[in-house]
């Protein structure tokens, strides 16, 4: 057990330089020397990260720690100042089919004139290709994905008429439609209702059972141990990364959050570590 933890730790912490190409090919995501800067101000600095396959990985850190930037840089959405990112051993441009992306819900205008099904069908556009319209088979497929997140009854609903949680589930269904092996999710739990939070957890478990890897930007420290196997503690650089059991310690959190880890979140953290707390029973962000 200890050896296993040690091995996990080795594979997911700063050993990226020593990876052989063969090892790299088996890693869903390997990041090496990644530096991202906006206007000369670095946001991510010398990030080395190896994400193991078939795990649920939380990326946590204070506001402005570069959590979303990490995902966007991995997807090539923002220019990298330096560094190399590989998805199963290849650059992202060659592996797009293997990657699903759930952006932050606030990143789009939900007043856009489309319904839930149209949005999910966008996940199939890559497969449909240029000029060809969305066919009936694609619609059926999109509906199946909506079903998986419990949103099939809302397929024809205009997206502005959905609640925040329902919108988040539509975004998840769109990523599912991509049928990827590695999923990046940017704050899927932010501001969602209890039903959605449960739906997302169930979905994450399903994806894990199917051998998929999910990298999830997460803001709620107390749920990290119950929802995730691995955690990446990020604050411009990777403070620590590895299995939750070994890495998610108060000491490491203090290193990550510094003075920002307030008394309240320390209390919450203690609460989440309480062994009397049955796992998976907590709903919502409420306490």
């Amino acid at each position: 057990m200890a050896a296993q933890a040690q091995a996990n730790r080795q594979s997911s912490s700063a050993r990226v330089h020593a990876l052989t190409e063969d090892q790299r090919r088996r890693l869903p995501l390997a990041i090496q020397d990644l530096t991202v800067a906006y206007h000369r101000k670095p946001v991510l600095w010398d990030v080395d990260l190896a994400i193991p396959e078939g795990r649920l990985i939380a990326v946590v850190g204070p506001n402005g720690a570069g959590k979303s930037t990490l995902i966007k840089a991995a997807l090539g959405l923002i220019p990298r100042a330096s560094g190399r990112v590989t998805i199963y051993g290849q650059p992202y441009e060659k592996q797009r089919r293997l990657v699903g992306y759930v952006p932050q819900r606030e990143s789009v205008d939900w007043d856009f004139p489309v319904n839930a099904l149209d949005v999910v069908a966008m996940g199939l556009y890559g497969r449909i290709g240029w000029f060809r319209p969305v066919a009936r088979a694609h619609r059926r497929r999109a509906l199946e994905e909506l079903e998986k997140v419990g949103m099939a009854p809302y397929a024809q609903r205009q997206i502005s008429q959905l609640s925040g949680g329902q919108q988040q589930r539509v975004f998840l269904a769109r990523a599912l439609a991509q049928d990827a092996d590695l999923y990046f999710m940017d704050e899927p739990f932010a501001g969602v209702d209890v039903a959605t939070e449960r739906a997302i957890i169930a979905l994450l478990k399903e994806l894990k059972a199917a051998g998929k890897t999910c990298v999830v930007v997460h803001h709620d420290l107390q749920t990290v141990p119950t929802y995730f196997d691995h955690v990446v503690l990020l604050n411009m650089r990777v403070v620590e990364a590895g299995p939750v059991d070994t890495v998610f310690t108060e000491e490491n959190l203090k290193k990550t959050y510094g003075g920002k880890l307030t008394l309240l979140s320390q209390a919450l953290f203690e609460y989440s570590k309480d062994p009397r707390l049955p796992s998976g029973t907590r709903g919502g962000g409420a306490l």
């Binding site: 090539g76 856009f112 004139p113 489309v114 556009y125 319209p133 969305v134 205009q158 609640s163």
Partner: protein, 489 residues
Amino acid sequence: MSPRLLILTPLGLLLWGAFDPSWVAAAGLGEHTLAWPSSEELLRVLTLRDYNTRVVIVGTTLLGLAAGLVGTFLLLRKRALLSDTLSHASLPGIALAFILLTALGAEGKNLLALIGGAAFFCILGTGAVIVIQRYSRLKDDAALGIVLSVFFGLGIALMGIATRMGSGNAAGLSSFIYGKTASMLFADAVLIAVVALLAAICAVLFFKEFALLCFDADYAASQGWPVTGLDFLMMTLVVVVTVIGLQAVGLILVVALLIIPPAAARFWTYSLKHMLWISGLFGALSGLFGAGISALMANLPAGAVIVLTASLLFGVSLVFGSTRGLARRGVERLRLSRRIRHENLLREIYEMMEVCGLSPEDAELDCALPQVTMDMLLSRRSWSHGQLRRALARGMAAGLLASDGRNWELTAAGLEEARRIVRKHRLWETYLIEHADVAPGHVDWGADEIEHVLDADLVAALEKRLPAEVLQQMPASPHHIEPVQGEAA
């Protein structure tokens, strides 16, 4: 009205109007005393009998169609104002092309050369906007404002030089500022028609790609779509529509043709496909009427009439639009307040019965329930006499209330309905008390069943947390209910 019907009806009217001479003749009757065109003239223009007019009208109509289609994506990409900057930035291009041609001894008003110059300066203007945005800390609106005014100023200066050039005829150049179909040559009209048609086809062809780009550009990029290329293509279409629209609409007003039709179309539909076609139709109608009316009345610039037609369509859409129109929203608001009053009424009667005991036998002596009077109800809520009377009448019509003219009581169906409403209300109230700090945004009073919004486990938990004295599956109110005062009849 369904969007499809909406598209077809005006088209039908148009065809009917164009081919039924009696109607057109009747419209023109007795107007000879005014400056109106004669009925023969009207007929000739509307039925497109005059070949030259026909080509100009067809060209302008296609221009409107293309602008409506391209403008839809422009609006949804939130770049509407960029098109205004573009059109103003084209002026120096027009003037410069004219000056160069005249200096070279050629005919200055070659449309192809003029719109070539315009397009070049459009692209230059766009580049200037992008440079300012990227390398200064100015916001978008400032960048657009700077480029618009600087380029337009330069254009006015160059126009001054152009009109002072001895040779060449610069008189027609002003039509590019205000728009004038009358000065349009046959070849110009054909050119406009062909290019507009191509732009329209392009906009339809790239429907799926543009939709993805407008909705979620980052996601499109993550999927490998060439976002920069698509953006470039879209802006190219905007530039094309703008420069071919310059002569018909004028550079000050051409932006209206790109923005107003899609803005109006949004009031009719929640579907992008329908919005695209309605916008195209509105644009085409604006072009058709603008060019037609301008052909009849030489003093009316086509640009102005086109914009006014588009504005009229916008005004109608704003008020009567079937999904977002003010009338529809007003009706919905009225319905909601009626429904709230209805639910309040049933809840009020139920809660009055509840404090007295639900059946007459249980009632304490000073409670005259289950019958209530209007005075009792009026004293408990802020509704007006009329509102309450109408709510009572609607309750009776629905078979939920029975009355002898002075007193009202719940029927069996009414009791059932009241119980459902009170249960829902109390669960929401408890939810607010328990969870308001987390998620007040999830409260949805309009939802018929709380279970539709919150999951079943949570509803069960809420029911458990309600105070113990459960009355026939009814959660007790979490707040104190005022006892009925001894004011019964």
